[in-house]
Symmetry: C2
Subunit: 224 residues, 2 copies
Amino acid sequence: MPSDRKPYHRADEDTRRQALINATLALVAEGGAQAATVRAIAHKAGVTSGLIRHYFSSKDHLMAAAYAHLMHRMTAHSAAVLRTAPHDPKARLAAFVTAALSPPVVDGEALVLWAAFLQETHRDPAMRQTHAQTYLAFRDQLQSLIADLLGHSDAQALRRLAIACNAVIDGLWMEGCALPNAFAPEELVDLGLRAVGAILGTDLTGGLLQTSPLPLTTNMEVQA
Amino acid sequence: MPSDRKPYHRADEDTRRQALINATLALVAEGGAQAATVRAIAHKAGVTSGLIRHYFSSKDHLMAAAYAHLMHRMTAHSAAVLRTAPHDPKARLAAFVTAALSPPVVDGEALVLWAAFLQETHRDPAMRQTHAQTYLAFRDQLQSLIADLLGHSDAQALRRLAIACNAVIDGLWMEGCALPNAFAPEELVDLGLRAVGAILGTDLTGGLLQTSPLPLTTNMEVQA
DNA sequence: GGCCTTATTATGCGGTTGGATAATTGATAG
DNA sequence: CTATCAATTATCCAACCGCATAATAAGGCC
């Protein structure tokens, strides 16, 4: 008698885990967390649902792994940019801002993914830890770049400047993700560099577009 | 024979609809969209689940109504602040920024609610329209305040300044909602006023804390 | 080429979901 | 006081959820 059982091939553990994680992220991006059911994930990964529990002890663990992978992808991108950036503090900060406001960080799916997992971080402690680590790592990196640029170390002032610059980047990131067609190419980066530059009282655009010297007495910090 | 049926009282249509909407928002804030099941909503509203379909043609319609109510609450707050604000353009913009970065707009529940509904706006056309209307209305209001302050009408430059200032406000709003304990009272407002002021080349803090005159040649616009 | 491990499929279960429908009861009008 | 109507409750249903377990075959080993 012929078997109607689905044929299959055995795959590496890493391959399968990654396929399941990718399927999870794709489904969450498409239809929110509620769309990422075990059956839908398995189907998109080309396997049957039972396999999920063979590689992840529960669906929550798969979700946590997918979130960690997403966050790691973003932070790894920032780190890679800084690793290949020049030594000039101004250029380094500009490269950092540019990377944070360009693909693949700015992406139509990114915001939805971030929003979908935000709620999960409220319950799952592991995901909450991933969230806090990623967020503070980004802001600390930004703060150290600002410190290098301004050349001093008033911790309180640096913290405030980092918060403000981080807010600009986050806000532009949100707008760029939510309304990808509303901005010309590179417009988001240009806006980010100018806004961060205005807050810090510096010009980050590389001087190419600068029309007048920038007195350094008008940054946010000096106003305080 | 005694009836074990739950006693009840009849209520106004508006009262019931509002109770169901409030219950929905509360549940979404607590546990994300997945926690807002028809049974949970009905229970929190003190009715039985069948009543939901008596007032809303489907659960999706209830979700859309809840989202519209949430957005209306926020925009109404901004509008009310502007209505009672003084006539000085600088003071009006400062009041607008202050309101956007203070309770009840900045609230521990607000971000989770916003994130939860963001995904729904991708599918439901009605919710997408609510989303776009609210977002653009806020930015347009901000842009007109900036226009009044700067006293000119270069549309392209105004749009860019509005986008940047909106990004600051959004970013600080996110941080304030996500990490309510990370900021001292009024710190968020202070940061917002200074950052927006730096971008526009103006001082919005009312001069109380200003230590030096602010040349107007360093705003984001002039750099371009 | 047969065997053995285990990755993978297949099937079933208890619980929950959104929705439909029937039964009941509170308010109102006459 | 009673009839009427609709607001509300109660019950049911098919579909789906995550998860557990049993059956099966793919691929490495000798």
